[in-house]
Symmetry: C2
Subunit: 216 residues, 2 copies
């Protein structure tokens, strides 16, 4: 009985997700679902991407959090329209939340839409929401064993950003082993080694993003 | 309808949690629920605590993960009995999972039982499981803004461990501001500044834990 209820919810969610994706495609908007643990640097990466791309790409951001509007405030300071979703205790965004946010956005004036998901490596991976691309960040201080613990997230994203590369000298993170593990779970994944603080790898990430934009 | 189902589940969970706590109290076992983001250092702190206390305190560990037995393997290497719970995709442990694990443990031979929860700042805070104490780790690289984003977790724990203090020189984490924020949400909370790598603050944490043990 419990399983049936859950399947109904998932199937309703997936229908809304498909509708969200249609709407995005019709408006030539590339939506990127950005996931990670708390504090892996999602907002910082989005801010840096905005700084580098905002002269040529029209960007908007949906910030999802359990509580607070801190991240949306940081984005708005950059002169980019941002909407905050408070999930009201939920550990992820679902298709319905994205649908409500899309209704409030001027989609014809947007090329690239980031959805910054709730900081969590479990639940956000379980829900389709309708974005065309999902990416995740894994910060160096979190350690290189995370793919084994959160296999669904690592197996399903289009790109993994190893963030906070500037912490590497203090860490025993094994980059080669980590990348090999992730590729073993997800052969088509792109992996970027990035530090927003030093600028390392940001250009490669931006280049990949621009390629995705051309494909929409 | 959905809400009613959820309330039923929560109330059933809370009954099992109360039963778990009775069982622990009857056996004079102090159970500590250890929560944090992925990679904040839960396993490392537990391992260091075992090293320092195992001669005088009989310790056991329940490791909860979505997948893998990596953490339990690390604990068992220290000669301490450990049980692995795989939550099968769930982002937290519930009272039922703890109950099943308690049945497998020789409770009369245990003084201190750690439950290492799934790495997540959201869901684990929402479920009572029956441990007498809940603590959390927040690692320096995650940033000092997390209490605003995950208020439930920070408001309900008995202790907050600021972990990975050795990363502080590379970070803009403001310790005083963070501690003031947390105390504002949770006036009785104990806060420890810890680095398992350098040993900073570990003795204070151990001392607090020994005080809790005496109160059981």
């Amino acid at each position: 009985m419990k399983v049936t209820v859950l399947q109904d919810i998932m199937s309703a969610n997936d229908k809304i997700a498909a509708r969200n994706q249609d709407l995005l495609n019709k408006n030539n908007v590339l939506a990127v679902n950005v996931m990670s643990s708390p504090g892996a640097g999602k907002t910082s990466l989005i801010l840096e991407t905005i700084k580098r791309l905002k002269e040529k790409v029209r960007i908007s951001v949906i910030e999802a959090d359990i509580a607070s509007t801190m991240d949306a405030d940081r984005i708005i300071k950059e002169g980019v329209p941002a909407i905050q979703i408070n999930t009201g205790g939920e550990c992820h965004t679902d298709a319905n939340m994205l649908s409500a946010a899309l209704e409030k956005l001027p989609l014809t004036d947007i090329d690239l839409l980031f959805l910054e998901n709730v900081g969590n490596l479990v639940c956000p991976a379980e829900f389709r929401i309708g974005t065309q691309k999902s990416i995740m960040l894994l910060s160096v201080p979190e350690g290189d064993d995370k793919p084994y613990k959160y296999p669904l997230m690592f197996s399903t994203v289009a790109a993994v950003i190893i963030s906070k590369m500037d912490y590497l000298p203090l860490s025993d993170f094994n980059l080669d082993r980590f990348e090999k593990t992730v590729k073993g779970m997800n052969s088509r994944v792109k992996i970027f080694r990035v530090s927003v603080k030093t600028g390392e790898g940001v250009a490669d990430w931006i280049k990949w993003l621009e390629t995705q934009l051309k494909e929409i």
